[in-house]
Symmetry: C2
Subunit: 205 residues, 2 copies
DNA sequence: TAGGCCATGTAATGTGTTACATGATTAG
DNA sequence: CTAATCATGTAACACATTACATGGCCTA
């Protein structure tokens, strides 16, 4: 149900489906994304439910633009969602699942390569977030408590990304260090045959 | 595609759909979850694709159990997934989206209540993760680099949860402090009318 | 005897991705 | 002339949730 609400949120300014797709690419991509093929039907549905109204406008280039605006109904629904308390969904981390099962590969060097690739990905992401933060601070100063209402909330969301991704990079480093200690203390494990488990102990749950 | 692989991972030991559901509740719930109504059709599909084989067994209580076991095909597919590099999907945070748009409510006290509720939720979760960590350390010692292969990987996954959720709690505290500074420096904003924007500045992107 | 656990599934609906299909305008 | 951007959408498929449907055994 969340794409509905995110579109309602973005549509506090009138926009077309195409505009909204671009809004995702710009500021919102760090916590949500959606394809045009999902956005168009969703907008249509929201209009049927009277949350949105649309009008066709000629476009300087390309076909006519269908510009959506929020109705009072839509604004009310947005407020209901915002006031309903934090929507803590079941977060899913496919790469954690991979790591969890990766002992099946039987070669800790593969785990090491996996963690290195993950660290690389995460640290690029973190660098992007830092760049955005620097731009914001350059434009609006380093005291977010004095930003506009929207600015304050958007900066807070950005800060969560920085905390969260940063902590994952730190976790990668911790795990890589543990892998290296493991390699140092049991060097044979690294080259053990893949399919035979090299231990019979019970594993921590 | 990931539930498929997670079931393959869990099925290194033969199990029924019901067993797998319980496995989710026990150790895997921190990074994935699934309902029985999703698990049963997925197992059936995996069997059609020759990744799994099943046999019926009488059960001491209740109806016959359909026990699934991994085929060579299935084991290969699991390895392909594990060796394919980290599956970094688009992570979605509905509560971040809420925060991002929450200036629409026009009352920073509501943002404060929101962040307090979120902090509460996250710190409970963190406490659970710490409890699991304490149990593991009590059972297997505090040197994870000497755990079994499975234990080492599972502990690493647990550590990511601790880093990640912990950093979010820290972010909640940072944000709550910023809210309080904001309330102290512009006390009127807290009681401003909800629907009128109290500023016309551009907001940080 | 009531409620929980064991154990199976189906149906309906909702959410999201990938591929397909079209066509004008503009910048290099 | 070619590729990107603007701008619309549909169709097929994949993934996930909620509700429905059944029924025996065990414990309080």
């Amino acid at each position: 149900m969340s794409l509905d609400h995110i579109l309602l949120g973005l549509l506090r300014e009138p926009a077309t489906g195409y505009d909204l797709k671009n809004a995702f690419s710009e500021n919102v991509r760090h916590f949500w994304s959606a394809e045009l093929s999902q956005i168009y039907p969703t907008l249509k549905r929201l209009e049927q439910r009277r949350m949105l109204r649309s009008r066709l406008e000629p476009s300087p280039k390309g076909p006519n633009r269908r510009v959506y605006t929020l109705t009072d109904e839509g604004r009310k629904e947005l407020m209901r969602w915002l006031r309903g308390g934090p929507a803590v969904g079941t977060e899913r981390f496919a790469y954690l699942a991979q790591l969890y099962f990766m002992d099946a590969v039987g070669d800790i060097d593969e785990t090491r390569a996996f963690m290195t690739a993950l660290r690389d990905h995460l640290s690029r992401w973190l660098a992007q977030l830092w760049a955005v933060e620097r731009e914001v601070i350059a434009a609006y100063g380093d005291a977010p408590e004095r930003y506009s209402g929207a600015g304050f909330h958007q900066f807070a969301a950005l800060r969560m990304g920085i905390h969260s991704v940063g902590s994952k990079v730190a976790w990668c480093d911790e795990t890589l260090a543990a892998i290296d200690r493991r390699l140092a203390s049991m060097p044979h494990a690294a080259t053990a045959a893949g399919t035979e488990p090299d231990d019979r102990e019970e594993s921590p749950s």
